[in-house]
């Protein structure tokens, strides 16, 4: 039995490192336009860094306005050409094949995702990649059935989609964007986040292998300027953006007066409401998963804990105990729970907001783990005694930081949960079925989890109320933004 304890002691020192030999990194990545690799016209490249070591992994092209124009032209030609004429069934078959290829090469992509983004291999392997494959598989099946998704109406595709995605789930966000766009018959120009371009660039090899015509999906890498020139390109018909609320608002302003449709998937500040009648151990585990999954770099993270007074101390004590057991460290280690903070900029933002919380009167508690010396790291942190008006309660921290508040009545919990500008997700923990239905009905958010959290599925629509965004992704409701509904 002594051997067994070694495996159950989460603080054991023995690393179980994932093999990185599957990943064949190039020194330099060009743009992927019209079915081929193209050097950026201005010859500019940027470094992409492993946040767990701070070391450079490769160079990635920076697309100029001219490069973006080429990509949009390629997407337009593909839309007006072979792709536009292809039947829904044939489009679907290519997407099915792609999903299968992703499954076959899944581990390689998981390692790449962890290297480039800093997330634990356990998550990229068991959550990101399976969801990426299933997202393509699910949408593949829609391609020849779209008329059933919109009762009484005919639908047609929109044209060229410009899509800009964030760094927290690089490949998964690419799948969320590309799969419905292609299933509905559109073509795509996608810009990954400047710090996490590698996995989606590698995905282009699979698109070629699957046999997609050139120009159906184009990747322009770069930073903010590249994104702006893509979204503002006049020949784009549809914009899809996932990122911060601030940028989302700016995009809505910029697109005003144009013909472009848009969907926005923005920030969140989800409340996890724990009632006295909840199964407390399960709730604690759900709260831990809700905020520390992917280092808290999750728009739907359960970043605000609301606990009913009678169990407040018990829940806080159990949270602390559990947080002390989390393994922080090398994201490639299969035992790691908390990987690297994605970038030094993000680390600075988290530190600044937490300092503000302390200044406003919150009590800070963090787990005591030793942090690695290189790279960007942050300990799982609680901010206790928060008030509703505190910045740390109102603003998205996007890190492993949980604010804690108490409540007495269900109505107080609902009022506090709804009292932020956001409305992306929420969680309710109770053993009373009727109560869980009533509370999930009262929370103004697009995704509600009862006695669970952070569950995602391609057939389950995702997206926010209020300032968390406009539109849904996934499920039958996620098709609407990619089609024109006729009369």
């Amino acid at each position: 039995m002594s051997d067994f304890s070694k495996f159950t002691d989460s603080n054991n020192d023995e690393a179980a490192l994932e093999n990185t030999s599957l990943v064949d990194l190039r020194e330099r990545y060009d743009l992927y336009i019209d079915g081929g690799w193209l050097a950026p016209e201005e010859g500019e490249y940027m470094d992409t860094i492993n946040p767990a070591t701070g070391k450079k992994l490769a160079e990635v092209a920076v697309a100029s306005v001219g490069d973006v124009d080429l990509a949009v032209q390629a997407a337009r030609s593909a839309y007006e050409g072979e792709w536009g004429y292809m039947s829904g069934l044939e489009r679907g078959k290519l997407l099915f094949r792609l999903a299968r290829l992703i499954q076959e090469r899944s581990r390689e992509f998981a390692v790449l995702e962890t290297l480039d983004g800093g997330k634990p291999i356990r998550e990229s392997r068991d959550i990101d990649l399976p969801l990426v494959a299933s997202h393509f598989f699910y949408h593949a099946g829609w391609a020849d059935k779209l008329e059933f998704a919109f009762p009484g109406r005919s639908v047609r595709s929109l044209g060229v989609c410009a899509q800009v995605i964030p760094w927290n789930f690089p490949l998964l966000m690419a799948a969320w964007k590309i799969a419905p766009a292609l299933a509905c018959g559109n073509t795509v120009v996608l810009k990954p986040a400047e710090t996490t371009s590698l996995s989606v660039l590698r995905l282009m090899d699979l698109f070629e292998e699957a046999g997609f015509p050139p120009g159906v999906v184009n990747i322009v890498t770069g930073a903010e300027e590249t994104g702006k020139s893509l979204l503002n390109h006049p020949d784009v018909d549809k914009v899809a953006f996932t990122g911060s609320t601030e940028v989302g608002k700016e995009i809505q302003r910029q697109l005003a007066g144009t013909h472009k449709r848009f969907t926005l998937e923005l920030g969140g500040k989800a409340a996890q409401i724990v009632f006295e009648d909840a199964a407390i151990d399960q709730a604690v585990e759900g709260v831990i998963n809700g905020i520390f999954f992917n280092q808290g770099h999750v728009c739907c993270a359960g970043s605000r804990l609301l606990v009913q007074e009678g169990v407040y101390q018990e829940v806080v004590d159990k949270l602390k105990e559990r947080m002390n057991q989390l393994v922080i460290g090398d994201p490639l280690d299969k035992n790691t729970d908390i990987g690297a903070i994605h970038s030094s900029q993000q680390l600075a933002r988290i530190s600044e907001l937490v300092a503000c919380g302390e200044a406003e009167g919150c009590e800070l508690w963090d787990s005591g783990q030793e942090l690695p010396k290189e790279g960007s790291w942050y300990r799982p942190t609680l901010l206790l005694d928060c008030a509703q008006s505190h910045r740390v309660v109102q603003e998205e921290i996007f890190g492993p930081v949980l604010t804690v508040q108490s409540f007495r009545t269900p109505q107080e919990a609902i009022d506090k949960a709804n009292n932020t500008p956001y409305g992306l997700s929420g969680g309710v923990w109770t053993d009373k079925g009727a109560k869980s239905f009533s509370i999930t009905s009262e929370i103004r958010a697009g995704v509600l989890w009862a006695n669970t959290f952070n569950k995602l599925d391609p057939c389950s629509p995702f997206g926010g109320y209020k300032e968390s965004g406009i539109g849904r992704e996934g499920g039958v409701h996620g098709l609407a933004p990619y089609v024109e509904i006729g009369f």
């Binding site: 989302g248 005003a256 989890w449 499920g475 039958v476």
Partner: protein
């Protein structure tokens, strides 16, 4: 019978179930083709818009929670009240310059449209909701919920039918609305307020303002407690303004032509959020 003076109506706003004048005290003169004054119309101010939004917010939750069957009956009641005032609406449209034949057709169509939408209240969710077969042991469903308060700028070129085609999809879906009527053809909108007031529609669910679009559209588009805006306008500058100002609270801005909307359950969906809920299946 001795000669008597006809009692002329004072045309006022409709806010929170009451008929106030504009708090600004302003009116504008509505003149027909021959240059005769038809009536003085209240010219709503920015403050009137804000007051109407407060009333709309107060009514939104209760209306959204009202059972679909009851909402359906209340909206059907609007049709009953409209029918009983058929002649009045024809006369008012005629006074605004519409020919009697066209006016009679418009009122008929408007009543039929109300009946059509009354029947949608308890059906659109069944058609557009889904139970999603997720891979984990969860009962996962996506349903529609009302957005809340919707500002509506009615078509300028269509009077009764335009107003109803714009507000019906909003209130059928459980939202409250703040409507700005056509500047040149406001009379039927004001009389519609009297119909709404006697149809068991709770106070504040429908608020009707008359006034200048150039003055009030920016207030509606930028108001932080308005969830969505329906703008019926072909003017590119107005459309641009609505999107730009609406961005500050990520208002859902729906743009339609300057004409009555075609009946469609998809118009109801324009003012619905989709909520997805995961419930575990287990012991």
């Amino acid at each position: 019978m001795e000669d008597r003076s006809v009692i002329k109506k004072t045309y006022k706003l409709f806010i929170g179930g009451k008929f106030p004048r504009s708090e600004s005290g302003r009116t504008y003169r509505l003149v027909n083709g021959e240059g005769d004054v038809i009536c003085n119309v209240s010219q709503a101010s920015k403050k009137d818009v804000r007051n109407a939004v407060v009333e709309g917010r107060g009514a939104a939750k209760g209306w959204g929670d009202t059972s679909a069957f009851l909402r359906s009956q209340i909206i059907y009641r609007i049709a009953e009240m409209l029918e009983s005032r058929f002649v009045q609406f024809v006369q008012e449209l005629t006074s605004e310059g519409v020919s009697p034949e066209v006016a009679a057709r418009e009122v008929s169509e408007a009543i039929d449209l109300v009946v059509h939408y009354a029947g949608w209240c308890d059906k659109y969710q069944a058609l557009f909701s889904s139970v999603n077969p997720v891979s984990s042991p969860h009962y996962n469903m996506s349903t529609q919920e009302a957005m809340g308060v919707v500002a509506v700028v009615a078509p300028e070129e269509s009077s009764l039918l335009g107003v109803l085609s714009a507000i019906l999809p909003v209130i059928v879906g459980g939202n409250s609305c703040v409507l700005l009527a056509s500047y040149m053809m406001p009379v039927s909108a004001i009389t519609l307020a009297e119909v709404v007031a006697t149809s068991d529609v709770p106070a504040g669910v429908v608020n009707i303002l008359t006034g200048m679009r150039s003055e009030l559209l920016p207030v509606m588009a930028s108001h932080m407690d308005v969830n969505a805006l329906l703008l019926c306008s072909g003017e590119i500058e107005e459309r641009k303004l609505a999107r730009e100002l609406g961005a500050e609270n990520l208002k859902r801005v729906i743009l339609r032509d300057d004409a009555a909307l075609h009946q469609s359950p998809y118009h109801i969906l324009d003012f619905q959020e989709v909520k997805t809920t995961w419930h575990p299946i287990g012991q």
